[in-house]
Amino acid sequence: MLAQLIVSGLAVGACYALLALAMVIIYKTSEVLNFAQGEMAMLSTFVAFTLLDAYHVPFHWAALLTFLFAILLGIFFEVVFLRQAKDPTVLGLIIITLGFEMILMGFAGWKWGPDQRSFPFPVSNIETYNFHGLVISKINFWTIVVSLALMFVLFLFFRYTKLGTAMRATQQNPIAARVMGIRTKRILSFTWALSSLIGAVAGMLIAALGILDPPMMMDPLLKGFAAGVLGGMTSLPGTAIGGAILGIIENLFGGYVSLAFKSVVAFAIIVLMLCIKPSGLLARHYVKKV
């Protein structure tokens, strides 16, 4: 049972990590906590659902179109709402993302209604791979693979591409970056597009794991946020580790201690851990210069 709990925990953790990844990319470049992340992903997933269900588009085309939609949605939010904020406070930004979350949630409810649906996904959530008695459903397995692959690609992207370096520069000092000829506005739009895209991947996987309905991302998003914080909010490997730890702890706690408190134990642990290491697992702690 222990091994199985850990394996299932890893599978869930991979979903958390994916969402955390989407949040972290934005936080890295613009220090915005995007509470609308979950609903952006949900909306993208609904678009995919409509393409598949109502227009019978083949899955790969539907996925591609959905990714395109997610990218546009990310850019739309950045350009139409966030960019309009003059000298925003951290709180103001949070409120903007929360407001956008409500709009998206309302829109999805208005367009598709509140019913639960099953998301047609080519990989089954019931068929399993069996490794020496440990079972993992195909979709869980592929979720882990996808999140690791995405993490790796992003890592390379940030480290070695020109755009990635520009994004890092924008994060560390936006004014200097602008002086150096980096078009920070474009970088920001790009960041939102990228984040929304990753969110859409996560949304489709989560919908395929369970069911598709407007509130489907509420719980995963909070856990993703928690995983991101655990990993330090700025570190890509950190989010992977954070997600995995969170998933495993949750499952072990649920399995051996109490199912009732399973969903809040994560937060208790995070608070405790943050008290010991306030900047998360893998982030450097900056001392403010006076």
């Binding site: 049972m1 709990l5 639960q116 649906r117 019931i126 369970g210 995963p220 399995g255 199912l259």
Partner: protein, 397 residues
């Protein structure tokens, strides 16, 4: 500056507009005029509990059918549906709006225990008839309220009898329970445990899920490790779908059984990708494809009046929760007041629409205000249709 003042102006205009939402002045009997009867219902149309909102829209269909057929005693029904997002503070505001601003004759249905409980005393104090809260808990009948008639079969008794059916008729001795950790799920557990206590055995395992949980792999493992032959499930559709997928994943296939809350087999088959087949379900209303003459009629009207709605169980439950109310209105005659309505309701004896047979009486015991005392059992076939296993069975004495 211009942009900002425009923004502000439109904001102010909007707020004033909201203030002007039309009011209806009070009549001699609140909500009853020569030509109209006003009734209201709240239901979550937004937020996480929104799937339940279909009930309130189903009632709307029944109202339109009645109006199309000429109304009741020359009066048309005017129906007000308000969204409370499952937030009690809003429910109470809506109840006050119904009574004081719109001036309804009665409230019908209404989802949620906490939501309804904030409004119950207020409605009763103002002598507003309330028919059929959409939850099967004791809160509605204890203490006995003169103007409140409950319909929904009590979760507790339903679970008690479902366990009996599994234990006696189908011979399952190792029974586990999977429930949602709220008032609804807790009452299910109470009923199941009450039955097993009578037989002097225990649940082999009871596993609860929080309403917000979306990962049930641990729950599934616990159920599997218990080795139960049958699992009774007392959850909402989302958790039902998740737990079935998770147990299927680890190769655990017990006999599942569940409450009428999950009796929307078509929906459940769809969201569980077929795993719902074989489920033993209790039902408190006719099956969606039933040949019951009323069902045939309602389905025809549904196609005509509200084709955009799915003919799901939650939806036509809105009809079930309103039918006896309108029967009471009919029996009360042209002189409709809360008092005559209550008197008329108390004359219902084994009256049946598409729901369970309903009996009320003068309020001597709580059960005189509990209408739905029957369910029947069915088994879900592989194609999503339901094989009716029993006729209506009385579950509440």
């Amino acid at each position: 500056m211009v942009k900002k003042s425009l923004f502000l102006m439109s904001g102010l205009l909007f707020i004033t507009l909201l203030w002007m939402v039309p009011l209806v002045s009070a009549q001699a009997v609140r909500g009853v005029t020569d030509t109209e009867i006003l009734i209201g219902q709240w239901g979550p149309q937004t937020g996480p509990a929104a799937p339940w909102g279909a009930v309130a829209r189903g009632t709307d269909l029944l109202v339109r059918i009645i109006n199309e057929e000429g109304g009741i005693h020359g009066r048309k029904i005017k129906y007000f549906l308000r969204d409370d997002s499952y937030q009690p503070a809003k429910t109470k505001a809506i109840a006050k709006e119904f009574v004081e601003q719109i001036g309804v004759f009665a409230v019908v249905g209404g989802v949620g225990v906490a939501c309804g409980m904030t409004a119950r005393d207020y409605l009763m104090e103002n002598k507003v008839p309330w028919y059929g809260p959409v939850t099967g808990v004791y809160n509605w009948i204890t203490p006995i309220q003169k103007y409140l008639f409950a319909l929904y079969p009590l979760y507790d008794d339903e679970a008690f009898n479902l366990t009996g059916y599994l234990y006696e008729k189908l011979g399952y001795k190792k029974i586990a329970m999977f429930y949602q950790n709220d008032d609804y799920g807790k009452q299910g557990v109470m009923g199941v445990e009450r039955y097993l206590l009578k037989k002097k055995i225990k649940l082999v395992e009871k596993v609860s899920a929080e309403v917000t949980d979306r990962d049930l792999s641990t729950h599934a493992l616990k159920l599997k490790n218990s080795g139960a032959e049958a699992v009774i499930m007392w959850t909402m559709p989302t958790h039902a779908a998740l737990i079935l997928a998770e147990t299927a994943k680890i190769g655990y296939k017990p006999q599942w059984a569940t409450s009428n809350t999950l009796s929307d087999s078509a929906l459940m088959m769809q969201i569980t990708k077929g795993l719902w087949a074989g489920m033993i379900n209790s039902f408190f209303g006719e099956l969606p494809d039933s040949n019951h003459p009323l069902m045939v009629k309602y389905r025809e009207w549904h196609k005509k009046l509200a084709p955009q709605e799915r003919w799901g169980v939650f939806y036509y439950a809105g009809i079930i929760f309103a039918e006896p109310f309108f029967e009471g209105v009919r029996r009360a005659g042209r002189n409709l007041t809360p008092e005559t309505w209550v008197k008329a309701m108390e004359t219902l004896k084994n009256w049946q629409g598409i729901g369970p047979p309903v009996t009320y009486g003068p309020p001597n015991t709580p059960m005189d205000r509990q209408g739905g005392k029957h369910v029947f059992y069915g088994k879900v076939r592989a194609d999503g249709s339901v094989e009716r296993l029993t006729d209506w069975i009385q579950i509440t004495k």
